[in-house]
Symmetry: C2
Subunit: 129 residues, 2 copies
């Protein structure tokens, strides 16, 4: 990357999600695993759990770093992180797929460089939709 960053970190917020989907641990897990495949990630393992009383939290560990999700079905909100190293990962494929899978009405996507050389300031990029 131009600024010498070793990692790329995408943060997406989905609004207006279907609460029946994002409150279902198995559904969220399958969507995240398929999203990881679509962005060319090599899946190492995954962990998902349900909050009490509702909401799902999970991480897909990929050879190129990780993808994480947290959902609040009572608000229709899902937050997704994709942290990747290497140029082969295409987060946009996963982001598009998850928007459809979550039944989201709207999403906002931000990107920040990680693993920056010392003294290089991180910059938050808000993507236009």
């Amino acid at each position: 990357m131009e600024n010498g960053a070793l990692g790329r970190h995408i943060m997406a917020e989905y609004h207006g999600c279907d609460p029946l989907v994002i409150g279902d641990k198995d559904a969220v897990r399958l969507l995240m695993l398929e999203g990881a495949r679509l962005m060319n990630a090599t899946i190492v393992t995954d962990v998902f759990h349900t909050f009490n009383p509702h909401g799902v939290s999970g991480v897909v560990v990929i050879a190129e770093s990780h993808a994480a999700v947290h959902t609040w079905p009572e608000r229709g909100i899902a937050s997704v992180d994709i942290f990747s190293c290497g140029a082969n990962i295409k987060p946009s494929a996963a982001l598009d797929f998850l928007k459809q899978g979550f039944g989201a009405g709207r999403r906002s996507v931000m990107e920040i460089s990680r693993g920056l050389p010392e003294g290089v300031a991180a910059e938050l990029i808000v993507k236009k939709e």
Copy 2:
């Protein structure tokens, strides 16, 4: 939180880390688990793996969300994420402990609100050290 955010996301970058520590999967795992305990997190499970040829990537899934780490021992850099829901988590205790544990010369810490209500813009806060 004041802006209605449901989650708090801390991103820390450590520079000048001891490559023997941050290149050692078991050492990084133990430091992350102890950091999670120090910030009052309830550990659900953890996954750590070593990159080829070097570098460690890992996630500690906590009841309150997750903590992740990625290291580049050849550059002396470690990136840490702490994503938490609820007011009981004290990320600063983990961040201080990890700085010492990684043998880091310097760290930079950023914070961003997650799970924001629709239409509320996320703001990146760079913490002064």
